[in-house]
Amino acid sequence: MSGQITIVTGRKKRGGVLLSGLAWIVGLLFVLPVLWMLLTSFHSEEDAAKNPPDVAAPLTLDGYRSFFDTGPWPSIANSLTASILSTALVILLAFPAAYALSIRPVRKWTDVLFFFLSTKMLPVVAGLLPIYLFAQSVGFLDNIWLLIILYTSMNLPIAVWMLRSFLSEVPVEILEAASVDGANLVRTLRSVVAPVVTPGIASAALICFIFSWNELLFARVLTGTVAQTAPVFLTGFVTSQGLFLAKVCAASIVVSLPVLIAGFAAQDKLVQGLSLGAVK
């Protein structure tokens, strides 16, 4: 009897090692393209274009240098402005709305909640033309504020859903105590509710920042030379003649860096945000 048990656990252990090894291999496979991009970005253009690839080629900063020589800073600044301001606007609008959908819910609050989600299903591209025509007629094209407004509308439903799911966990007793003490709505929001849902706000802000930073279609159609964002800058990058692989890799790394840093630093927030707050 005892012999049988050791055999079983022995087999289990071996299977466990195998599965752990498999997990490592899969993880490495998924990160490999990014590592490859990182390595290539530090190679010279000639080494980057070699086939078979030369992994041990000398490292250089030439790729980054020639990327920064093309003047990417205005577009990076535009991306930062659009992402940060739209994220702030989203939280500002979503927080009271989520309050009115959870703590002191309006009538038919589920309908309102699903209205918000349904706007996410409306294909962006279907509203693009009127927005373009409107912006053109009022001289709003190539203006970063247009993107800020559109990114806000793009992310607002996500934030409303997330924050609602967090707010519905605020204990009622605290709120009742606050209202007995005579605190008004704004004070209740700020001093009682906000601290409890700060993690929710952080998750929502992270996701909104990432989605705004990544957005291409609106930025591509509605901006020109002035308000161009970093993803648009990236797409216009490859048209140049000659070898460009190291430069493109360097550019992709630089543009992805803010998202990579934010995402790594807040992995748990990422999960909460991606699941619209359904997973905490």
């Binding site: 997990a23 899969v26 993880g27 998924f30 990160v31 990014v34 980057a48 086939n51 078979p52 690839p53 979503a94 009271p96 709305a97 959908l101 703590i103 002191r104 819910p105 309006v106 009538r107 309102v112 699903f114 209205f115 918000f116 706007t119 299903m121 409306l122 294909p123 591209v125 279907a126 509203g127 693009l128 033309l129 009127p130 373009y132 806000t152 509308s153 607002l156 409303v160 799911s165 709505l185 930073w213 291409l216 279609l217 591509r220 993803p231 490859v238 460009f244 692989l245 493109v248 890799c249 550019a251 992709s252 543009v255 990579l260 790594f264 999960v271 991606l274 699941s275 619209l276 997973v279």
Partner: protein, 317 residues
């Protein structure tokens, strides 16, 4: 779990009817609505109003190249869009692309989530490695796949083939040979981490004591997975599939970057973008937009029904 909606906590219920006067109740209603209004009005203006304009333009003859010929076109645009072979191919591509990416990354995501649900050395590191693809800016990811991996003369894939088989190794042109699959693979690489993260969170919220009890009662691994884990995961699978579909169906970045819509890979967002941005045929682009929206509404109605089960369970807590 079947009576969730009825057992909602009291604070979710509307104020009791009667008692105070109608006027007071009405002001109370507006006080409740006030915090909601800015967000709601903002959304209606920015997302619904343009769509109304799209519907109007879709019935118009309007090409920016011929500004004098603007007028009412009836259902001409719709007829032209629906009989156009490009549009039909775009609809098909959109379905294939979305279904392919969502299904493959859902299955891969589930398998990897199961792998990462065990305790082992370096689990945190592996999880971080897995997340990385999702954190690369989509345009950058598309550029990476197109130039650094797929490129026939210096891409990594053909480089690896040369490593393995020497100078006579086959050097396929991946994108020209399999344009749609090239896009699907690049997107699966980005979306698998997304699915994995949500499913892993779902796995970790399983009631462990029940599963242990099942193991003691003699259920084997497969039975535990089939009859306990999978039903528990169902809502997480639905959620990740729905969210994945919402984003992938609208994909523009990968199609635009990897093939520029060529080689039969133009999906609906790309086709509409082209009709409007390069051909300047506003009437036709709008008609295509309206058709996309109708299609999305049909699909979304089913999808929303499945999310609402998840949602009811949540409020029932």
């Amino acid at each position: 779990m079947t009576v969730e909606t009825e057992t909602r906590p009291g604070r979710h219920a509307a104020p009791p009817p009667g008692g105070e006067g109608t006027l007071m109740r009405r002001t109370g209603d507006w006080a409740r609505r006030a915090p909601l209004l800015p967000a709601l009005i903002f959304m209606i203006i920015v997302t619904q109003l343009p769509f109304v304009v799209t519907i109007i333009v879709s019935f118009m003859d309007w090409n920016a190249y011929y500004p004098d010929e603007r007028g009412f076109a009836g259902i001409d645009n719709f007829r032209r869009v629906l009989t156009d072979s490009n549009t039909r191919s775009a609809i098909w591509v959109t379905i294939l692309l979305t279904a392919g990416v969502v299904l493959i990354s859902l299955v891969l995501g589930l398998l990897i989530a199961l792998l990462l649900d065990r305790k082992f050395r370096g689990r945190g590191v592996v999880r971080t490695m897995m997340i990385t693809p999702f954190l690369v800016v989509p345009v950058a990811a598309a550029l990476l796949w197109k130039h650094a991996l797929y490129n026939p003369s210096y891409g990594l894939f053909n480089g690896v083939l040369k490593w393995l088989f020497g100078d006579n190794a086959p050097q396929p042109d991946w994108i020209s040979n399999q344009p749609l699959w090239s896009i699907i693979f690049a997107l699966v690489w980005q979306w698998t981490p997304f699915m994995m993260l949500i499913l892993l969170a779902g796995l970790q919220s399983r009631p462990l004591d029940v599963i242990e009890a099942a193991g003691i009662d003699g259920a084997n691994q497969w039975e535990i997975f089939r009859y306990m884990t999978l039903p528990h995961l169902r809502q997480y699978l639905e959620l990740s599939a729905l969210l994945g579909s919402i984003y992938v169906v609208q994909n523009f970045d990968a199609v635009f970057t990897i093939t520029s819509g060529g080689l039969g890979t133009a999906n609906l967002p790309y086709t509409i973008y082209q009709t409007f941005y390069t051909a300047h045929d506003y009437g036709r682009a709008s008609a295509a937009g309206v058709i996309v929206v109708i299609g999305t509404i049909l699909i979304a109605t089913f999808a929303l029904r499945s999310v609402s089960t998840l949602f009811r369970e949540e409020t029932g807590r």
